[in-house]
Amino acid sequence: MKRLLLALPLLLLAAFAGVALWRLSSPPDNIIRSKLEGQPVPAFALPAALPGRSGFDSASLADGKPRLLNIFASWCVPCIAEAPVLLDLQKSGVTIDAIAVRDRPEDIAAFLDRNGDPFGRIGSDLDSKVQMTLGSSGVPESFVIDGRGIIRYQHVGPIMPQDMATILTEMEKAR
């Protein structure tokens, strides 16, 4: 008993070192997901991000058609990686509306010229307020919204080619 008690500090240290090594080698996932999956899109209204393009509001998302709501920015590097996949999704019949976060019309136009334009409407969220309203914590992120305006699925980070099947399945489920 006495020996065990004497060994206790060493055992505690070993346990601590073990936990520390384990967490250092496999850090916890620091992705923050929106808690709004399964709930209606909160109310918002966004002005057009580009001249000649329409903005949109949350009510217009409940028009009977499922769609992908993409949150992007011209200053966001992973958004460039995602662009060709979004174009593919659009070609396979997915309606994509976008929210440009903290962006300028000329920068968005240049971004779309360079990386392709898969978007229907593009709203401008100058102070990230709508991004926060949706529970999004970065760019790019995408939400699958069903025809009743309910958030069905959230994808955090760029949609890469290997994610395309998941997105298409979620779009089908939201039908």
């Binding site: 620091n30 923050i32 808690k35 590097v77 100058l126 914590s137």
Partner: protein
Amino acid sequence: MIRVAILLTLATPAFADSNLPPSEWADRQLPDARQEAQAMTLMQEIRCLVCQGQSVADSDAELAGDMRALIRQRIAAGEKPADIRAWLIQRYGDWVSFSPPVKPLTWPLWAAPILILIAGGVLAGRKLSRRK
């Protein structure tokens, strides 16, 4: 080798920042000191979504600035800090608040200091009474 080193010093880190200036209320105090104090208290308890160990009050991330602006604007509009916190928790989960809510899952968290204090008290009490 030297050329590479020079190029590396010239390279700017790929920091995801927009070209827009910070929000108006990101770094500006509310004119009403009482409201500013309320906003500050809340900002220190809301976790930045980008630099996750820092509070929104401490972080230089753009999104943290936008969150400060959101908090200040809502407080200025007369909203209660508790409601703003609830609004954020509804979107980002309990995680976003540095003060965890009291619920069955967090009972151990709240009970631990009390239990440790009691255990320490008992140990100290025994040690002291033995010395007499």
